[in-house]
């Protein structure tokens, strides 16, 4: 007679536990989905910056950099060179100094150079790669100088040539160069959200 209520009690406890676990899994799953969606939305903002001329002009797939908002080929027969710094007698630093030269319209920043070919964000016809392709390149540690999420956030926050994009100086005609579509603060915030979501990448090619 004493055993029945005990069995019943165990059943109730187990059932409640199962419901709780199920609810918890559902909540966790919902939270993960929301986190993923927030991460992907943040990535869209990051991508909008990476493919803006101030960034993508030096992330080419070809052996030359680009310049200008129309992303035309760099003038004066400038080429990539073995380390992305031009070649002897025609180095990037033959013109690009430690900071912008506004009186002559030549942009400058520390260690001016092209991104490596592993970080190309364009195809050979100078068309920007898709959001998913750029995302895969940026998150592939065999291609991105072994940067994890935290390192990517630091790179976007502190790297001198990244910061230059928001201080690009004046063109030879004296007008200001176009800035990326969002502020550096917004760019860093978006990168942080994306990294905290696990650097999700959009599906597709």
């Amino acid at each position: 007679m004493l055993k029945r209520p005990q069995t019943c009690g165990v059943f109730v406890v187990v059932t409640i536990f199962a419901i709780c676990v199920s609810l918890s899994i559902t909540e966790a799953s919902k939270s993960r989905r929301e986190n993923q969606a927030a991460g992907l939305a943040a990535w869209d903002k990051v991508y909008s910056v990476l493919t803006s001329p101030r960034c993508i002009n030096c992330h080419t797939a070809t052996n030359y950099p680009q310049q200008g908002d129309d992303r035309h080929r760099h003038f004066a027969n400038v080429i990539r060179g073995p380390e992305g710094k031009g070649v002897a007698a025609l180095n990037c630093v033959s013109c690009h100094q430690e900071r912008n030269a506004d009186s002559t319209g030549v942009p400058g920043g520390h260690n001016w150079h092209l991104a490596p070919l592993s970080m190309q964000w364009q195809d050979l016809n100078d068309r920007p790669l898709s959001s998913s392709a750029v995302c895969r390149a940026v998150t592939d540690r065999s291609r991105n100088n072994n940067m994890d999420g935290a390192a990517l956030l630091k790179h976007h926050t502190e790297e001198q040539l990244v910061l230059w994009a928001w201080n690009p100086g004046r063109r030879p005609d004296g007008s200001l160069r176009t800035l990326p579509p969002i502020s550096h603060q917004e760019f860093v915030a978006a990168t942080r959200t994306w990294v905290e979501a696990g650097t999700p990448c959009p599906k597709g090619r």
Partner: protein
């Protein structure tokens, strides 16, 4: 205006100029080192090439306040350098020059190339000298002279 102490061809020179003045005009107008030429003014032709800390540099687009304490060598002193001497000798031997306007820049770039690459290939020469224009089209002789200088230097 500001005062700048520049190390040019091994000597310290002091100039009072606007900080935004391109190095080319400091050399030509303030220091009367007129071997360095004004060509395009936008770093597209290479006529204004000098060496800044050993790097071939387009002096027409580099403001003097970005030079700092880096030593500058111009065409007037490149002959004191063994590679520079060899290049100048090869230029004479191959009779490279026609009108001559671009040649100081050509020689400064050629010296920078040979200091980096002792035995340059045709491709090396085309890539490194590709930013130095010559309206007399002396390119074939420039290539021969660079190879001759390379031979002389061993």
């Amino acid at each position: 205006m500001a005062t700048f102490h520049l190390n040019i061809n091994g000597s310290e020179k002091t100039v009072d100029v606007d900080p935004s003045t391109p190095l080319l005009w400091v050399l030509r107008e303030e220091l009367k080192l007129t071997g360095t030429k004004y060509g395009c003014g936008i770093s597209a032709c290479g006529a204004c090439t000098v060496h800044v800390a050993g790097i071939a540099t387009r002096s027409c687009v580099v403001p003097v306040d970005l030079i700092g304490d880096r030593p500058i060598v111009t065409i007037e002193a490149i002959g004191k350098d063994p590679v520079g001497r060899a290049v100048q000798n090869a230029w004479i031997e191959k009779d490279v020059v026609q009108c001559g306007y671009c040649q100081s820049g050509q020689i400064m770039s050629a010296v920078a190339l040979l200091k980096d690459t002792k035995k340059p290939t045709d491709k090396n020469i085309e890539e490194s000298m590709g930013g130095n224009l010559c309206r007399c089209a002396t390119y074939v002789r420039i290539r021969e002279a660079i190879k001759r200088a390379s031979q002389q230097l061993g």
